[in-house]
């Protein structure tokens, strides 16, 4: 089943889905695996596996440093593919996506990257520095391989721009809650509510809302307004402070379990 259809199906049983994120190789692939297990066992639907890049322009300080530390420890793109293949086989109920910057895809070769990702069972890609205007080949190859190229809506996007962008993507649309980089908190207010209503009108694809969601209240507020909550920096901070075993209870708490 394609990613968008799978998300819609899951939504029939749950008011809001969860997508989590981790930086591969930070603090280590072993810890990554344990974190994924905790996420999978506690009801996460999608996981972004971020392949580190030396210049992560759209990320805030926490994810930026995680990228740098993973690279400093010697992590290679080939290690990321091997690790992803392993966890996809081990946790078949999770939709895994690769998140990375375009240079990683470009250097690997767009065709080879997408083919290899499809072979190991990746469901989609999130590439924040690749707007649809620059990604024609990537978009075409992804769609051909049945992989979802995730597009972005932002509060600065016009209605026209939203319709254009959504028409080129698949899977779901990643709605950025506010201006700025990852890792800062956002509150639900009338502006955000209007924005999500605009997002909803612009596309039939499921909507994921990200940047700064970290509590049960944040997730609960999304019910009826978006399809999926994105938890990014919060779990990285949690693992830094309290270790991977704290992730399971945190996820369960977000879902009100």
């Amino acid at each position: 089943m394609k990613l968008a259809a799978d998300i819609k199906k899951r939504r029939q049983d749950k008011p809001v889905l969860l997508m989590t994120h981790l930086v591969l190789g930070y603090p280590s692939l072993d810890v990554n695996r344990e974190v994924i297990r905790q996420m999978a066992e506690n009801g996460v639907d999608c996981i972004e596996l971020q392949i580190p890049f030396s210049e992560p322009m759209a990320d805030g300080p926490v994810i930026l440093q995680a990228n740098q530390k993973a690279l400093a420890a010697g992590l290679r793109v080939a290690d990321c593919f091997a690790f992803a293949a392993g966890v996809i086989a081990e946790f078949p109920r999770i939709n895994f996506l690769f998140m990375t910057y375009y240079n990683i895809v470009f250097r690997y070769g767009e065709k080879a990257f997408i083919r290899r990702a499809a072979e190991i069972g990746i469901r989609g890609f999130i590439v924040p520095d690749l707007p649809p205007e620059e990604g024609e080949t990537y978009l075409q190859l992804s769609q051909q391989s049945g992989l979802a190229p995730i597009m972005f809506f932002t509060p600065t996007s016009s209605d026209e721009r939203m319709r254009y962008v959504a028409g080129r993507g698949g899977g779901f649309v990643y709605c950025v809650a506010r201006r700025g980089v990852t890792g800062q908190h956002t509150v639900m207010d009338a502006n955000l509510e209007n924005y999500l209503a605009r997002c909803r009108r612009a596309t039939d694809l499921p909507l994921a809302l990200g940047f700064g969601i970290s509590s049960r209240q944040d997730v609960a507020m999304l019910e009826g307004r978006a399809d999926m909550a994105v938890i990014g920096t919060a779990t990285i901070r949690l693992v830094d402070d309290r270790g991977p075993e704290a992730v399971g209870p945190f996820i369960a708490g977000l879902l009100g379990a």
Partner: protein, 411 residues
């Protein structure tokens, strides 16, 4: 061809949140470019505020010394703030006024672009934040002092290699949150469209002047034009005056650092050390590993110490219109020393790279031929860096003495 591309290089690889900001910037830039009164306002401002046109100096002693071509020096060092950087900054400043934004941000490596931006912000009454790698803050303290005195906030960047590329990333991170009232004054002919084209346009004032000046003084066009290349803004500035003249050879000189074989350099276009990539919003030749992770670079001149190169220059290099060479740190110090002693002119370490290559080639040219060296900036204001590069003992004694004096007065 797609907008913002030069051959296969360039583009605008920007996060979606900046889409509308770039649409607005493109609109303001295209409107200004189509409006002849904008360029008139720009040249008037540069004449009144920044000593333009800068002279083209005939270097009689150097020409005699090398015994070949007549050597001319385009004096961008005589611009206000001491380098060609102000050309771009004042142009973008006029654009900021048109767009009605109240704050500017910029990255800086050596600090020249930061000082120029802080100067422009002071003149135009704008708030100003400068991002500078922590390592550069330590290396270029005098420029930090001036930026702060000019009213700017200097933010040391502690990520990555803590140099220019990291300062660019930090400036983008500011911009994705602040774009409603803030313009990012990118300092060179790199980054996403329209920056390479727009910065090249403002810098073209150098080449326009130089073309007229060499015809007047030498009676005809030069055989060769030399410029150092970091991001490439001074090179693009002077080259544009001669791009349409097939008889004029254009030579870009990169940082050879400690030697290309040592890995301690910033040569993107010489040899096959760099490879195509996409980072910092544009596609060009980057110094990177097989996976696409950017490599460490080195140069004696902080302004050339950068992993990428202008997409316009990558294209001109690929097409063979610009020839690229590299000068080592050691050669640079020798050329600087010779220029000071022979002509009484003090080029910046960056600019001295162009002098190195011109000195190598001038003897092989005929006496009725001319070459132009673009002296992108002056070296005397970088006294700490240059004195350090010369390992000057009397300077060290002075600093030790001064430090002792400060220390005792602190107690």
């Amino acid at each position: 061809m797609k907008k913002g591309y030069f051959g296969q290089w360039g583009g605008a690889f920007i996060p979606e949140v900046l889409y509308e900001t770039f649409a607005g910037l493109n609109h303001a830039y295209e409107e200004a470019r189509a409006d002849a009164s904008f360029w008139r306002e720009y040249t008037r401002l540069m004449a009144n505020y920044s000593c333009r046109p800068t002279p083209l100096t005939y270097a009689e002693n150097l020409s005699k010394h090398f015994g070949g071509a007549r050597i001319y020096i385009k004096r961008e060092d005589l611009n206000h703030t001491g380098a060609h950087k102000l050309n771009n900054v004042m142009g973008q400043g006029l654009l900021v006024r048109r767009m009605g934004k109240k704050r500017v941000i910029a990255e800086t490596g050596a600090g020249q672009h930061g000082v120029a931006t802080a100067t422009m912000a002071a003149r135009f009454g704008l708030a100003c934040t400068i991002y500078m790698g922590e390592e550069d803050v330590a290396r270029q303290r005098p420029n930090v002092f001036w930026m702060e005195k000019l009213g700017a906030t200097v933010v040391p960047v502690t990520d990555g290699s803590r140099t220019l590329k990291d300062a660019i990333n930090a400036a983008f991170r500011d911009w994705v949150a602040s774009m409603d009232d803030t313009h990012y004054v990118l300092g060179t002919v790199c980054g996403p469209h329209p920056f390479p084209e727009m910065v090249a346009w403002f810098q073209s004032i150098i080449g326009k002047e130089a073309n007229g000046q060499i015809r007047e003084q030498h009676g005809r066009l030069p055989a060769r034009v030399y410029a150092c290349v970091g991001g490439g803004s001074n090179a693009m500035g002077i080259f544009q005056g001669f791009l349409d003249e097939p008889g004029v050879e254009l030579i870009g000189v990169e940082a050879g650092g400690k030697g290309l074989e040592t890995g301690e350099h910033a040569s993107r276009m010489v040899g096959d050390l760099a490879s195509p990539g996409v980072a910092q919003g544009y596609k060009t030749m980057f110094l990177q590993d097989r996976d696409g992770q950017m490599l460490h670079t080195h140069s004696i001149a902080a302004g050339l110490d950068y992993v990428g190169v202008s997409p316009i220059l990558a294209d001109l290099g690929e097409k063979g219109r610009v020839r690229f060479e590299a000068a080592t740190d050691r050669e640079v110090i020798r050329a600087l020393e010779m220029t000071m002693r022979t002509e009484g002119i003090i080029p910046a370490l960056e600019s001295s790279h162009a002098f190195v290559q011109a000195f190598k080639e001038a003897p092989d040219l005929a006496a009725d031929e001319a070459v132009i060296i673009n002296m992108s900036g002056r070296g005397d204001k970088d006294i700490f860096t240059i004195a350090h590069a010369f390992d000057d003992s009397s300077w060290k004694e002075f600093i030790i003495g001064l430090a002792a004096e400060y220390r005792s007065s602190y107690k």
